[in-house]
Point group: C2
Chain length 95, copies 2
């Protein structure tokens, strides 16, 4: 199981609602993917300009398939235009 | 429900096992806390110097109680000495 934390900072002037309209479609479509355990957008409770996707995947192959999906190709570039920065980490739990 | 991502970067020369010996005790004790839904340490699959706690709490009050707990007071300062940097974000899911 792989966890992904994709932390984004919205560009100045970008409204959260504008971002959410796009992001919600990505969340809906991604949660339908077979290898997706969970995929949800979060807002930092202390800084509303930080929007982070916290994800759980069966394995790295599921993530690769996700990255080639139609909804990622269509929506992610548009979301990226609204962000000032993005920090993505792929994690494995340490038991 | 509040999610916390506490991303740490180990200081140069610090061995992961050294960090884990301390961190595992913190994970064990924290998972016993009433307000703790999940609390697990993760390693970045692309950079073993990044160690991140991904947490789920019932509410902010549970986090405040955690921060005042005996195991946090005893262990967290020791872990901090082994890290070069720490980035903590508290998140609420956006539905």
């Amino acid at each position: 199981m792989i966890r992904v934390v994709a932390k984004g900072k919205l560009k100045q002037g970008v409204k959260l609602e504008e971002y959410l309209t796009l992001a919600r479609e990505l969340v809906t479509e991604t949660n339908k993917e077979e290898g997706c355990i969970s995929y949800a957008l979060h807002e930092d409770i202390n800084d509303p300009t930080i929007v982070t996707m916290i994800e759980k995947w069966v394995d790295e192959e599921a993530i690769e398939q996700h990255n080639c999906s139609e909804h990622v190709r269509k929506i992610v570039p548009e979301l990226r235009k609204l962000r000032e920065s993005t920090e993505i980490n792929l994690y494995r739990e340490i038991k």
